[in-house]
Symmetry: C2
């Protein structure tokens, strides 16, 4: 009987708690950095979520380090900084970690040769980050205009010096790019296959979800029969990089996100505290559903609950 | 010691044999129908494989039923018949089983309602077979020209009466079609997700391989997080249909193909005799590699070995 009680007590302990005036102070005091997912946490499409600027201001005034982590690879860090500014939030490029940047950093920390090229099935953000890191990118939006001619005896040529293919969200996906990336991965010896992330869908517009990078990555897996190296959430590559850059223990970081299978899992994989906000794709019934096995430490409706509960 | 001998003898028995003057007569006499894969068996791209017309003529003169089974969904059965004729081979539409036809037949045998529509991520062949079977198809090549406008507050509308999405090889794949198909599968209650086949690559031109239907199907799996119903090889749907149509026991059919994981597996799944030809994507070293676990009953260099060995 005692055994049963302690088992149920343990279960209670691992189940996530709503953020409350009682536990918010403990959470804030015990961390040095807050890692925020962007879409569904800071904004939804092009609309800022209620109370975000005041929340960030409060946390900054308490000396907390803020980091904005996004799996959306379509923009570079400086393009994201512009988006933040246009919404009235001031951030520095160093505070932003996009999966486009992560892809370039993965190549950098793994000493990818500068004389090799990188083929991009994705958008401008990846090409911009590759260039900033000193790499030569090919493909991207430009190849979105190209078509394939399936004539007898015509040969589709690809650059043999491509040593990595980076695949991310690509609204200009086409057969030309799929063939180009597939040939590089299948025929160029040692060619890396890197995925910015594998999100199935994302809020590319305010009103609905669209196929995410997971769609383009799966297509490339389908034709190459290979699995990619993932650099965005929930892979811990970005977190390892953050650790080295900021020198803050992951146990003193709190990951704030709206997705269980990327944000919360990412935080948990890395040993961070975790806070789920219900302002994005996850609602309370999904969180509490018996089929969900990912439990954040805390949950709340939106980030502005933090300063509200602290008062 | 006896146990070991009989075990090795059994292994010897299940290992595939080269087609020879000694065993070809037994194979031909024991079957009533030959099922031929097309690409890599009958032709390669637009070039007929050496000795095919004489082989088919010999088998027909022996009273064998011939069936041409192809996973390539880009053409309809009548478009395939035209291709055969242009290469100097005379076949009837009834002898051709393409995965485009299989998709339409799957809907027919499952009483798909005629007032529901079918969205096609694929080419003309699927739309033509759907129309011939009395269904209303949407999408296909026409939607290959459409683009997506990701503007704030713009809504991508889809037809709520779509009850099935058919995905096949699509050289005009784009973000518009991926979003359309994804919305139908995710939001239309009970919407079917049908794949013509999942071949990773195929010889769309003579000189090289290109991403196959497996690439487009994987993309749709990536965004919907659902698995499709596969109607082409190696699914036995086509075989069940063939059985009903021709009334020949599968044990009296021989599947002739160049791919282990589609053709030979398809034949074995259905209980057919199997013959691998080395005129397509599989070579002898792949067949004999220890990592290969699919063993056809016989193998030979090309179909014209059959009449040659019979003489």
């Amino acid at each position: 009987m005692d055994g049963r009680i302690s088992e149920s007590a343990m279960k209670e302990k691992t189940k996530c708690q709503p953020l409350s005036p009682r536990n918010v102070r403990d959470l804030v005091d015990s961390v040095d950095a807050f890692l925020f997912d962007c879409d569904g946490v800071i904004w939804k499409g092009d609309t800022l979520i209620d109370g975000v600027p005041e929340t960030l201001e409060t946390l900054r005034s308490m000396g907390k380090k803020l980091v904005f982590v996004t799996n959306n690879s379509t923009k570079s860090r400086s393009q994201y900084a512009k988006k933040f500014h246009s919404l009235g939030i001031s951030v520095t490029v160093d505070e932003i970690f996009s999966s486009s940047f992560a892809a370039a950093m993965y190549l950098k920390v793994n000493d990818f040769p500068k004389d090799k090229k990188v083929y991009v099935v994705g958008e401008e953000g990846i090409l911009e980050e590759l260039e900033l890191a000193g790499f030569t990118g090919l493909g991207g939006p430009e190849d979105g205009k190209k078509t394939v001619l399936l004539r007898p005896n015509s040969l589709f040529e690809h650059d043999k010096s491509v040593g990595a293919v980076v695949v991310g969200l690509d609204q200009y996906i086409n057969f030309y790019k799929l063939q180009y990336g597939t040939l590089c991965i299948r025929e160029n010896p040692g060619c890396l296959f890197i995925a910015t992330n594998r999100d199935a869908v994302g809020h590319l517009t305010d009103l609905q979800e669209w196929p995410g990078a997971g769609c383009m990555v799966a297509a490339m897996c389908g034709s190459t029969q290979k699995e990619p190296i993932v650099v965005g959430k929930p892979s811990t590559f970005m977190m390892d990089f953050l650790l080295k850059t900021f020198n803050i223990a992951t146990s003193r970081m709190c990951m704030v996100g709206d997705r269980l299978d990327t944000d919360i899992l990412f935080g948990q994989n890395a040993g961070c505290r975790t806070l789920l906000v219900l302002s994005g794709v996850t609602n309370l019934s999904t969180l509490e559903d018996s089929s969900n096995h990912i439990q954040p430490e805390y949950y709340t409706s939106k980030v502005s609950d933090i300063p509200k509960l602290l008062r």
